[in-house]
């Protein structure tokens, strides 16, 4: 299984809720991420979709080491990050780099592009001798399609799309195998978005990177991902190849989610079988018992409240889906 570059096992992150004036006692927890199992293979793109509050950002933060998991294990190239020594962990972490959502806030405005892209070398001085860093930074800039002569410019002198390229260059600096893209294009205008997506795909092809691509925009995920995991309230409710998820979703939430995406084709207006969910997402501090989606699910039965459905392949579902009644339901009828 050396093909698997990253794996999570029952990854959990709970944020304690405290109460008390002087002595704080824990009265509960926000279950931001509640037992996630994912595998990322070399060279593939794993899309993670879900709506705000589903825990996808917390998951991302755990993967890049910004957050310590409450429990569960993270394996990077087969090594359990919580069990290895500090040096090993550092090396492991180096292998996962992050591209953030907002190109305007993710670059330190007081640093030059060269400093930003070169910062990883300063933090990990063993990677590259000082003398070679500048050349490498310029190389990276060129790689992401920026003018290497702009190394001394400040981020504000670049447009949103270009800044996102700087962020990508920074992520590439340490030659990671895995890049975690946390909504990398959602802050960009449509016309720019396409440029960045094309760049990401090009880099993957050239450098053999593995992506975890977290996004709300289902269209973008479909475009770029090989496999897709759908999250709801801290759990993965369905996972499969891009085709399986988009063409044959079996979890009601996935179905609702997909049906809600507007299709830029007026001819389909009124022909789509849109599922409009009612109500809001329940609070992750107090998730519903059993299946977490049951409060908004049209298929919910008693069993859903009592028994939490496992993420597994079921009778009517060719791929893992965490629904007792997983079954395919045609969502989009393309009109020829």
């Amino acid at each position: 299984m050396s093909d698997i570059v990253l794996e999570t096992r029952d990854l959990v992150k709970h944020f304690p809720l405290t109460r008390g004036v002087v002595f704080k006692k824990q009265i509960g927890a926000v279950r931001a991420v509640d037992g996630i199992n994912l595998q990322l293979r070399r060279g593939e793109t794993l899309g993670v979709v879900g709506e705000s509050g589903c825990g996808k950002s917390t998951l991302a933060r755990m993967l890049v080491g910004l957050e310590t998991p409450t429990s569960g294990d993270l394996f990077v190239q087969g090594k359990n990050m919580s069990k290895v020594g500090a040096a090993e962990r550092r090396r492991g972490r180096r292998n996962i780099q992050l591209v953030m959502q907002d190109p305007y806030t993710s670059l330190n405005p007081r640093m030059t592009v060269g400093d930003i892209v070169g910062e990883p070398f300063e933090v990990h001085p063993d990677v590259l001798p000082k003398s070679k860093r500048r050349a490498r930074v310029q190389e990276l800039l060129e790689l992401v399609g920026l003018n290497p002569d702009h190394i001394n410019r400040y981020p504000h002198q670049f447009s949103g799309g270009q800044r996102q390229r700087i962020g990508i260059a920074r992520a590439l600096a340490l030659n990671p195998e895995i890049i975690l893209c946390d909504e990398p294009v959602s802050a960009l205008d449509v016309s720019i978005q396409a440029q960045v997506i094309n760049l990401l795909e090009k880099l993957q092809n050239e450098l053999g990177l593995s992506y975890i691509f977290i996004a709300r925009d289902l269209s973008v995920v479909r475009h770029i991902a090989d496999r897709v995991a759908v999250m709801y309230l801290g759990k993965v409710v369905e996972i499969g190849t891009e085709d399986q998820i988009y063409e044959n979703p079996t979890h009601p939430y996935t179905q609702a989610l997909l049906s809600a995406v507007p299709v830029p084709d007026p001819k389909l207006r009124g022909l789509r079988d849109q599922i409009v969910l009612t109500g809001d997402v329940p609070s992750p501090a107090n998730p519903p018992s059993g299946c977490r989606f049951r409060t908004r699910c049209w298929k919910a039965q008693d069993i859903c409240a009592q028994q939490e459905p496992a993420l597994a392949v079921r009778e009517k579902s060719a791929h893992p889906s965490a629904c007792h009644f997983a079954e395919v339901r045609d969502v989009v009828h393309a009109v020829e």
Binding site: V190, V261, P262, Q274, T278, V332
Partner: protein, 345 residues
Amino acid sequence: MSTDVNVKLDALPGLDPNAMPLQVKDLHVEFRTRNGIAHAVNGVSFDLRPGETRAILGESGCGKSVTAQAIMGILDSPPGFITGGEILYRGVDLLKLPEAQRRKVRANRIAMIFQDALSALNPVFTVGFQLGELFRKHRGMSRKDGKARAVELLDLVKIPAAKQRVNDYPHQFSGGMRQRVMIAMALALDPEVLIADEPTTALDVTVQAQIMSLLAELQRERNMSLVLITHDMGVVADVADRISVMYAGRVIEEAPVDDIYASPAHPYTKGLLESIPRLDLKGQELSAIKGLPPALTNIPKGCAFNPRCRYAQDVCRQDPAPPLYQVSPVRTAACHFWKEVKGDV
């Protein structure tokens, strides 16, 4: 329906009940800033029929929100100034009305909902207060009646337990619920025209679906005209009747919704359509528009889109900007080469 509510308003000089609810003619807005004059809106025209949904489509900085604010008369001035054009409500030029009368048009006849409901609702007053205020100030209702109406409105926009929630503050609502409150506020006085400025951009897709279907339902019930300002081609395709595409403060293409998606006549529209990944069309390579939108302080000569345009010729780089060519009886496009663009598809 709505016209009988406010008697005073009918006294607007030159009000013609048969005229179109909203007509914008050659609107110009500029912002006078320290770094120069930003030409945010440069001759925008469109009209709106009763019950119709007009989408104004464009990317950030194209002047679409400024247009909306100019119509509402809530432009920050200074630095924003309307330097030309007309905004007609049923034949009455709102720009020429005295402020007191113009104020009556707001909320009563033309209402607006904003993108970010959290910042658009006053954080220090309850939702009930902010809704009831409309009835108290425009209809002279008592505090109690105003509140009762507020509860009705919250019910209307399907907020559960409206009676209790009317006393909550905006920050106690979820994003979707807040946007519902915004809608309730906009609909409170039965306006004829609703301007929705990116009403769902900040929301998740499932919530967006809820809001859009609610809006559609209410619009249908009330035969309201809707100006939908958005950058989301998907939403537009779903709800709009007619579309105005804006670029650098100009409408560069205007057409019924089907026509645009089927055969865009402006390279920019075309580029936009090609650059979105689509759920239903898999595996296509995205063709991005090269370059960046211009700064409004420094709009290129001639066609504003020319530096990014693959059809651009010398004529595009010279003033005047291309006029709106009549592409078909119902559509126009501001491109010298609209035929090529259209034929290309």
